[in-house]
Amino acid sequence: MLEYDFMRTAFAAGTVVAIVAGAVGYFLVLRNLAFAGHALSHVGFAGATGAVLLGVAPFWGLLIFTIAGGVGMGLLGDQLRGRDIAVGIILSLSLGLGVLFLHLYTSHATQATALLFGNVLGVSPENLRDMVVLGVITLILLTAIARPLIFATLDPELAQAKGVSLRLIAVLFLVIVAVAVAEAVQVVGILLVFALMVGPAAAALRCTTRIRTGIVLSAVLGVAETWAGIGLAYVTDWPPSSWITLLSALVYGLTYVPRLLPRAAHG
């Protein structure tokens, strides 16, 4: 299957996205912001469809909206905790707006499907180049803030006492999440971002109690699920997004298996 250009591009794009989403997602889960990450991708839908309406590439509309949403959420900071309803309403508002923009554009149901459910097999070499550049920038930024981010996540009160600006860290982190979400949308789409951003990270957190091991494991699981998903899609002709979400759920479910075994088995 690697004799086809589009398959090689798909594997490369999937790898970049899975590494970024896995690493960023680990912190997202650690900070209990999984739902906020989910909502960010929906905000991006309005941006992407709006961009189509204006004749701009949807990826840039998506990116601008997710970043704006990330900055907004970061500034709200702690007030965001327990605001599932407000986040949910913004989430549905964004989807509604996106549907309106699509309606005004009066065509392209395929465009909508690709945005909502992803189309990794349709990634162009130019897309891939943009994704690699953004992915590298994201990972560099994440590395640069990782230390105070972990401190602020685990010990917000102590971090604040040591002069860490919790708000600055929250905004920087959510901007990173926004870019990671925009990337993940290219592979699994807006509705299935959880599969790459949260699934591998949540599984990694259940497998190891060490932060650095967890980050690496999260990225490795994401890459494995994405590769296997694209490979299975090629063989079965089912959508890659379906396979990736299925594998993501499966791996997360498997982390519960040791608990179900008799106690002696894992002592």
């Binding site: 990782a146 230390r147 972990i150 401190f151 010990d155 006492a161 109690t209 932060i211």
Partner: protein, 265 residues
């Protein structure tokens, strides 16, 4: 030199005067219990000593230096800890997160950092505990992790905000004894805020009692008296002593400490 020197100190927070014209001198190596009703300014005072809150008037000196300066670095254990109870990370990573955690860059400690974390864990007798996920630690064991965090950087002054709160009496005793052992071994100064006097009676050198903007510093016998506390609470207070224990009672009959505890729950 005194560890902490308060001179005509007035602290305000949110437009409210919390401490007014307080002077006190805490000696190097003292173990001080800080008490007072809710809102008396215990946490506010700790924040001021950390350099997080500038005095409205008066001065604070920590080992002769202005608070917050490098030479005046204090180890701090905040009272409120959000969301670490269900953390699936090991204690080591929790403690290590505080080692120069305010620096930018990747979460890599280096040999010196790892040594420091190992030393802090060893000091609080929690080396073995540190391999377990935080979510599986008891309240007392978690408090030991947080104490290890406060020891990073080997501060000469420890500020512990309510380290005994929400612990069973059994664990309270163990944690106080540990703090005392650490204090003696390292020869450092400890300021510890608490609601209940009794778990600390045998361990404190002196008591700092705050109330209604005022403060009284002295031995338990000097400070925990009907006269001093009535002034600090601005209400008639009785102090009952029996079997080496102290009960502070409002004149209307309720135990003051027990009441204070309930507000907090």
């Amino acid at each position: 030199m005194s560890a902490v020197e308060l001179e005509s100190l007035t602290l305000t927070r949110g437009g409210r005067t919390v401490l007014s014209n307080v002077s006190a001198s805490i000696g190097d190596g003292e173990f001080i219990g800080v008490f007072g009703p809710n809102g008396a300014g215990k946490t506010t005072l700790l924040h001021a000593i950390l350099g997080l809150l500038p005095p409205a008037s008066g001065t604070i000196r920590v080992f002769g230096k202005p608070p917050g300066s490098n030479a005046a670095q204090a180890g701090y254990l905040p009272q409120k800890r959000s969301g670490i109870g269900d953390l699936r990370l090991r204690g080591w990573d929790l403690v290590a997160s505080a080692y120069e955690g305010h620096h930018w860059g990747p979460p890599v400690l280096g040999a010196r950092g790892r040594e420091e974390v190992a030393w802090a864990l060893e000091t609080v007798e929690a080396t073995a505990l540190a391999e377990r996920p935080v979510s599986q630690l008891s309240g007392g064991e978690l408090q030991r992790m947080l104490l290890a965090q406060a020891l990073l950087g080997k501060p000469k002054l420890l500020l512990l905000d309510e380290p005994l709160i929400s612990l069973d009496p059994r664990y309270q005793q163990a944690v106080v004894e540990l703090i005392k052992r650490v204090q003696s071994a390292l020869g450092i100064t400890v300021l510890l805020t608490a609601h209940e006097l009794n778990p600390l009676l045998r361990f404190m050198d002196r008591v700092l009692y705050l109330g209604h903007g005022h403060a009284a510093l002295g031995s338990t016998e000097e400070v925990i008296t009907s006269e001093v506390l009535s002034r600090l609470y601005d209400a008639p207070i009785e102090v009952l002593r029996f079997n080496g224990r102290i009960v502070v009672v409002a004149a209307h009959g309720g135990a003051v400490e027990a009441e204070a505890h309930r507000h907090d729950a």
